[in-house]
Amino acid sequence: MTSLALSAMLRTQHHGRLDMLPYGQLLNISFERTDSEVRLLMPFKEALVGSPGRLHGGSLAGLLELAGLAAVIVALPDADRLPRIRPITITVDYMREGTPTGTIAAAEVTRLGRRIVNVASRAWQYDRGRPIAAANVNFLLDYPEAQSGS
């Protein structure tokens, strides 16, 4: 199962690629896990471009959302009991132009509930202190056996 394999990879490896998600492959995303967070890296390629010389807002939204998903996966307490993690709402603020270079994103779980997880995700290029876009994402957790949940 893709989600279990993704979870195992993000929890056990320190770096790798999100190629098991075809959309992650399209965006060409790899990850690096430190003690405190999972960072996603999206090198520049022409297929990410919207208007000439600028990253499409949707490329950045996709990166921010995947960074949020990665943060939720590593924050979940029980690796053996993985819920389906579905984004319900996402709000992206665009602060600076996405220039034709690599983009990094990392997300923070603001609140980890039993059903809802609130996540703040941020993307930058040259300087983490000067983000190019940020997103609030609310995820819904769907446990297969929700009735018997502890």
Binding site: P22, L26, A47, H56, A61, I90
Partner: protein
């Protein structure tokens, strides 16, 4: 050429313009229709849109891209020229998963223009506009090229 009406000529220009965006080509997003203050793009199913191949679930990021572009396209149409703008913010509510393999249509509408900001809303559906899969609201800001700035 000359037998095209101005509307047809505009539609063809827009079609070429939208289809020339690299990230649209990557996801298979294309022109569908437009009116005075609205625009529609469509995204036929393609494997690279998938987030979870086990369930045939399309990445929400692909739907986000479709909606960002449909809304931006509606702003171009409403302003009546192709002068540049940038998304300031955009919220997408994912109401339900689209049917596996469905073509997704993104409808964007520019309901208010001010001197510097365009306000947009819209929805996405997978066949029936009355049963949408996503709803959006956002703003775009106008970005004049530096060399065009006079003040």
């Amino acid at each position: 050429m000359s037998d095209l009406t101005p509307d047809q000529r505009q539609a063809r220009f827009i079609q070429r313009f939208m289809n020339g965006v690299p990230h649209h080509a990557a996801l298979g997003i294309g022109y569908k229709a437009h009116g005075k203050d609205w625009a529609e793009l469509e995204m036929p199913f393609a494997p690279q849109q998938l987030a979870d191949p086990d369930y045939g679930i399309i990445a929400s990021g692909a739907i986000y891209t479709l909606m960002d572009s449909a809304a931006g396209f509606a702003v171009f149409i409403t302003r009546g020229d192709m002068s540049p703008h940038a998304t300031l913010d955009l919220r997408v509510d994912y109401l339900r998963a689209p049917a596996p393999g469905a073509t997704i249509v993104g409808h964007g509408e520019c309901y208010k223009l001010t001197r510097q900001i365009a306000f947009v809303r819209g929805y996405a559906h997978d066949g029936d506009p009355a049963n949408p899969i996503a709803n959006i609201a956002g703003t775009f800001m106008f970005t004049a090229r530096p060399e065009a700035a006079t003040a």
